[in-house]
């Protein structure tokens, strides 16, 4: 298949499944573009409490519409991101955050992958070191060393000639 066509097709498929294409269409008037950007970022990273795996911006459920309105109102009122997250956290719990807080219950989640990576790294390093040791030639015996000296001398004289 024509690679350009393939790219275009792939692009179309990805677009069709992107979160933005599902995004709810309610409009709130913000005074600045920065406020609107904050609103969009917030509803993208807050989770719909009724749905299992959808963010607020991607959900059509009535509760998500209400929560989007709440977020919009709070942004318009000049509340900070942390304040808005905290407000919803106090009412809906950690479920509402798609980016979990760092706390003992989430240590495995946050640091587990890095730990696993380090373990894997150590494992590979050990493997490689062993391989190297196995491949390294055994030290030469005295006879072999003598032979080597004779040969390199011979080579040296040859190259001079």
């Amino acid at each position: 298949m024509n690679p350009n066509l393939l790219k275009a097709l792939l692009g179309a498929v990805l677009l069709a499944f992107s979160a933005a294409s599902f995004a709810a269409i309610d409009t709130y008037a913000f005074e600045t573009a920065a406020e609107e950007a904050r609103y969009k970022a917030l509803i993208d990273e807050l989770r719909c409490p009724k749905c299992l795996n959808t963010n607020l911006s991607g959900s059509d459920s009535p509760i998500s519409a209400d929560l989007r309105r709440t977020v919009a109102t709070m942004v318009q009122a000049g509340k900070g991101d942390e304040e808005i997250r905290g407000y919803l956290l106090a009412r809906y719990g950690d479920f509402i955050l798609y980016r979990p807080r760092v706390m003992p219950a989430t240590y495995v989640l946050w640091f587990g992958p890095a730990l696993l990576f380090l373990l894997a790294l150590a494992f590979v390093a050990r493997l490689v070191l062993r391989q190297r040791q196995a491949e390294a030639p055994a030290p030469l015996s005295p006879e072999e060393q003598a032979a080597l000296a004779r040969l390199s001398q011979a080579v040296g004289e040859n190259s001079k000639a």
Partner: protein, 183 residues
């Protein structure tokens, strides 16, 4: 490779099995741990469904009560309604309704038709009290103690089992005399 490291795959397998077992043992991922447990009931200024008279948080406090979030558009609310009627008729616990994002006349007609177990219903037309309460799916039922602290929350229908095993013990702990059903 040393002999003990031969057990590594078995260990990994057991670890994965444990994680999967834990994961699938979460019986209902929809059930969110409530953030509001042991928190005060949020403040509000609303109206009563029956007559539109104002009602606020302080008006509800005094004795422990059940706060039940319901709506006519919610099929599960209808399913639990008979149990709420039974509780209201047999036990000395006040029920307070929150008529959540509903239509006033329809809600009044609904109560007239299926019976009204509530001492009063608070009208939450825009769902703002619902958000304060962390409501994400009606019906939801809270136990609020005499000081206005939330002691229990249930998402989903209240049935006989939930009443006997969960709600009633909490109310009894709060000092409500529920041993003898009302005559």
């Amino acid at each position: 490779m040393s002999r003990t490291s031969l057990f590594l795959p078995l260990g990994l397998f057991l670890l994965m099995a444990f994680m999967l077992w834990r994961g699938f043992a979460l019986n209902d991922p929809h059930e969110l741990p409530s953030a509001l447990l042991n928190q005060p009931l949020p403040d509000f200024q609303k109206t009563r469904l029956a007559d539109g008279a104002p009602v606020a948080r302080q008006d509800l406090l005094g004795t422990p009560f059940l706060l039940n979030v319901w709506a006519t558009w919610c099929p599960t609310c209808k399913a639990e309604h008979a149990e709420l009627n039974r509780i209201a008729a047999r036990y000395a616990v006040p029920l307070v309704g929150v008529n959540y994002k509903d239509d006033g006349p329809a809600a009044r007609a609904w109560l007239a038709r299926y019976g009204d177990p509530y001492r009063l219903s608070v009208v939450d037309e825009d769902g703002s009290l619902g958000i304060e309460l962390g409501v994400y799916g009606a019906p939801e039922t809270f136990i609020v103690d005499g000081d206005g602290i939330i002691r229990y929350k249930r998402v989903g229908a209240v049935d006989r089992r939930v009443w006997e095993e969960e709600i009633r013990p909490v109310l009894q702990n709060l000092g409500l005399p529920l041993e003898e059903p009302r005559a």
